[in-house]
């Protein structure tokens, strides 16, 4: 009797697993079919110009990001939305791929690209020499400014004041983290896993200031009373999408698509939609 039940269970499991498998296959088949009819031209163009590129999952552009960085990426319900999400969607449409977004820690993004877990990463990521050694970057699609958030009435008035034994809150692995660690020493920099936690720490006087990208900084300041952004910026830098070094064809295809999107004004439109003119 026991054996019979065991056999039955094994059978049931096989059937259910098989069901899962075939359903997934159907799904992708459906979507690829739909996508291809939609954008055969674009895909064909890209293929002809740049040779074959491969993605982690067939027919899907897997993007990694850290969805705690408004307005570039943040969560609305379960959905990751924002500038980067929309640009990635536009890129995926151009390439004839379906977009899938994975949310992870910012510091893990480049590792995830190297490990082949995601194809690209759009996360308001600045192009730096160190990063270039480990991943390829597409052309820049936006410029970012690192600014300093302080509380109203803070004795920090400019970048120079940061040197006076201040504790600086940053988001782990961001350029702000790297630059501040180099400039002011590791002991004066507290790295939090996301920007919101760093701002929380600032509100409670745990840190004296937060160095973070301008757009999220503006959102944070707007959402919390008693904070302000210093007029002098910390650094100015370029944002770009990161792609694995093993996949130059994808970088080329993305650059081509990016250029087309810049030319037809799509990128500017997306930026304007999220970043209000001052």
């Amino acid at each position: 009797m026991k054996k019979f039940i065991a056999a039955l269970l094994v059978g049931a499991m096989c059937v259910s697993l098989a069901a899962c498998g075939s359903k997934k296959a159907d799904d992708t088949a459906d979507t690829t079919a739909a996508e291809t009819t939609e954008s055969t031209d674009a895909a064909a163009d890209a293929d002809a110009a740049d040779g074959e590129f491969t993605t982690v999952a067939d027919g899907v552009l897997t993007m990694g990001t850290n969805a705690a960085f408004p307005p570039y990426e943040y969560k609305e319900g379960d959905q990751v939305v924002g500038i980067d999400a929309e640009i990635a969607q536009a890129l995926a449409d151009k390439l004839g791929l379906k977009l899938e977004i994975l949310d992870m820690d910012f510091a893990s993004l480049i590792t995830a690209i190297q490990a082949g877990k995601v194809d690209i990463s759009l996360a308001g990521m600045t192009v730096t020499e160190e990063r270039k050694q480990n991943v390829d970057f597409t052309d820049s699609y936006a410029t970012g400014v690192q600014v300093i958030i302080v509380k109203d009435g803070s004795d920090i008035a400019s970048v120079d004041d940061l040197a006076n034994d201040k504790i600086i809150g940053v988001q782990e692995g961001t350029t702000g983290h790297l630059y501040c660690s180099d400039d002011y020493g590791e002991d004066h920099v507290i790295a939090y896993t996301n920007g919101a936690t760093a701002v929380q720490a600032l509100l409670q006087d745990k840190v004296d200031c937060v160095v973070i990208d301008q757009q999220p900084a503006e959102e944070f300041v707007e959402a919390n009373d008693g904070l302000k952004i210093l007029d002098t910026e910390y650094v100015v830098e370029n944002y770009a999408a990161a792609v694995s070094k093993d996949n130059p064809a994808l970088t080329a295809a993305l650059n081509k698509a990016l250029q087309e999107l810049k030319d037809d004004g799509t990128i500017q439109g997306i930026l304007d939609k999220y970043i209000k003119a001052e």
Partner: protein, 240 residues
Amino acid sequence: MLEGLKKGLYQTFILDDNYQYFIKGIQTTLIVTVFALILGVILGVIIAIIRSAHDQQPERKKNIFLRLANLICQIYLTVIRGTPMMVQLLIMWFVVWASARATDGNMIRCAILAFGINSGAYVAEIIRSGIMSIDKGQMEAGRSVGLTYATTMRCVIIPQAFKNVLPALGNELITLLKETSVVTVIGLRDLTKGALIIQSKTYQAFVPFFAIAAMYLVMVLGLSWLMGKLERRMRQSDLR
């Protein structure tokens, strides 16, 4: 492959004196673990005594203070064991101790408090199991030769109970050591944070993570060896 490993090792340990992150990280991890354990054991013993005193008394003879103390202990155990360590730590740092500046000293003190309070709940139940495992006759014997309840507890019951619970206590110590890795959420630079910082600087994941895995393993081996020694020492009177 070998080239990559060499580059990884170089970037992880030698470049920019990165090995310093590991040394400082181990110090922080050990400080938090040891002091949290001490706090946890103190809390645990007190709670275990209250709880077992309450449980061992007949229903009609229980006094109101003991009932109240037992109730408080039970609430503490339920809340602490029923919520994730990381959440407790975040609450401790951002809510309870909101006024603290983010200096290393403050973060370490906060971590010790949070982990000590957390550990206390688990240690309490471990020690209570030890107290309950000692035969009722031991207490009766102690009391009948004229020892007070407290003295019997201190000199007869607890020493025997402690010996019984050593393996379980060692288990808790090892769990505590590894669990301290969640202090990264408040920004404290422990061993795990060190590896994360190195990862974000060099984009190497393989070497730093394996390195800290090995370091945690070595620390745990050291602790188990110490616990083993302590256990043997406690068994010396056991020649029967």
